[in-house]
Symmetry: C2
Subunit: 320 residues, 2 copies
């Protein structure tokens, strides 16, 4: 910028004014500056700008794994909203590890991001308090975090309830639930919806038909259930990865899965799912974050997004 000023024969500050479209610069002078900028290939140093102004025009996004289609869809939505607000996105995958989540968040804070969107891996977020006090906005997405802050989640219990009720409506009375580890909020909420649907239909909750754990063990769990003396006639799977694991077993009981996924309609039969919109989640969380960043006051909000049951065949198979 110094060089540009010299080349245009003006003061540093005048160049700064031109670069920032500040008023009060003679058009002729501005033109000279613009020419000098073009000739020297000058580009503003954002680090210095950030240092001076305190705003980075960057938000941090901590998700579980970018490679998971659910989170990559969400990422894209966040990115789009950030773009509209002139911000960039620093993102990182926590891999469901609370320590890694914390490390990522603190690194982002050291970079002075203006705001954070976090898919919490852990439940303790006290480490965030000093940052929030320091004025960094934060929104929890997909799951609630360990403190009062804006949160965007989907209707996990309601969605699971709808899916299980759908199976019950088609005549099933022995419905298995394959869910993620019970310690994960979404998993326990969905289990709650499952139990409520059974209870409302007056069906007994049979614990041997419930398996919670990582997706890579869901297939084995399903096989074991189906091989047991009194096998389930239908299965409700608690997330997209588990649905896929269940499909991969080769067994084809009646099935409704939480989360839509590509090719669900191409399989035979098509896979009935309870769909939540990852892009809606990302967009809503990002928009709320930018509202907070622009100073919107008020207590922490908790937004719940609806789910949608999409019948495609697998959930309409009657019991044998």
């Amino acid at each position: 910028m110094k060089d540009v000023a010299a080349a245009a024969g003006v003061a540093l500050k005048t160049v700064s004014r031109v670069v920032n479209d500040e008023p009060g610069v003679n058009p002729a002078t501005a033109e000279r500056v613009v020419a000098a900028i073009a000739q020297l290939g000058y580009r503003r140093n954002e680090s210095a700008r950030v240092l001076r102004r305190g705003r980075t025009a960057t938000i941090g996004l901590v998700i579980e794994d970018v490679a998971d289609p659910f989170y990559s869809g969400m990422s894209r939505a966040v990115e789009d909203v950030a773009l509209r607000h002139g911000s960039l996105v620093l993102s990182g995958s926590s891999g469901e590890d609370p320590l890694r989540e914390r490390e990522l968040v603190l690194t982002f804070c050291a970079r002075r991001v203006d705001g954070l969107i976090i898919v919490p891996a852990g439940t303790d977020h006290d480490y965030l308090l000093p940052e929030l006090d320091a004025g960094i906005a934060a929104v929890f997405a997909d799951r609630p975090g360990g403190l009062e802050a804006d949160t965007v989640i989907c209707d996990n219990a309601g969605g699971a309830h709808a899916g299980v009720a759908h199976l019950i409506r088609h005549g099933h009375r022995r419905i298995a639930f394959l869910g993620d580890s019970a310690s994960i909020f979404t998993a326990s909420e969905r289990l709650r919806g499952y139990r409520r649907a059974l209870a409302e239909a007056g069906l007994p909750a049979n614990e041997s038909l419930i398996a919670m754990g990582p997706a890579d063990r869901a297939g084995a769990a399903l096989c074991a259930m189906l091989a047991a003396a009194d096998p389930p006639t239908a299965v409700f799977t608690g997330n997209g990865r588990i649905t896929v694991a269940a499909l991969r077993t080769g067994h084809r009981p009646a099935l409704v899965g939480f989360d839509d996924f590509e090719l669900a309609d191409v399989l035979t039969p098509g896979v009935t799912v309870v769909a939540q919109a990852p892009d809606g989640l990302g967009r809503t969380a990002a928009e709320m974050l930018f509202r907070r960043m622009s100073g919107e006051p008020g207590p922490a909000e908790r937004i719940q997004l609806p789910t949608r049951l999409i019948p495609r065949g697998s959930g309409e198979i009657p019991p044998p």
Copy 2:
């Protein structure tokens, strides 16, 4: 930092030394400083550090679309390599728009990223030259860019050749090619492999069996071909999205697709694919970038990754 120095009763510079693990600080003094840091909840301001040192410990990643599983897999691999090198990743989706690509790259450069990994949307990268001169390292991934720079791509022509030869070996003589727009490097390379395989088998290249264009039109193109007087008995699809579009038509000719995808093995029949490893691509590109960033000299390299044919059933269907 000033406050920390005051609290610990030492000079600014001493705090800096402690924070950066520089030698030459009395352990007792250091401990006092550490205590003051903890008490005040101090965290280093990275912006100022970047401004002073010139290195941001950040790399920029420009891909086509994070929501595409291929690119999200690649993203994750880049992120992991960056993590190992203590760097963060700024990423953005170009959406196959050269202008947006350029804008993203220049924004990243203004943020003074240390290096760039770019999946080129356009073919003209002259805008990068000043940045390269300024010392920013850049690696093109998935496709070559419009200038001499390190490049990591997969063996597109060879992979397509292998896939088509596989169909020929199973007796097919009328094989359609559904590819992305011919202006996209990977698409034209794969088409080249297709033509070479036909030529080597002494088969005529029938232009009416070749359709190039965006994935959302591939389904209609396939239907049209199959409805024609002399339909193809097999199809080679030029990327994952097109494979899915073809499957969605409901027609099930013999098929080999470029790119592996989740559930390819669950469909009936399983979908035979030519797999390239998105994570290998990301990892290789990132590792090369970090080598360059650490000063490795030498001319621009071009690394080509192999592909792998995975027979699953759809590619082994004989002609009717």
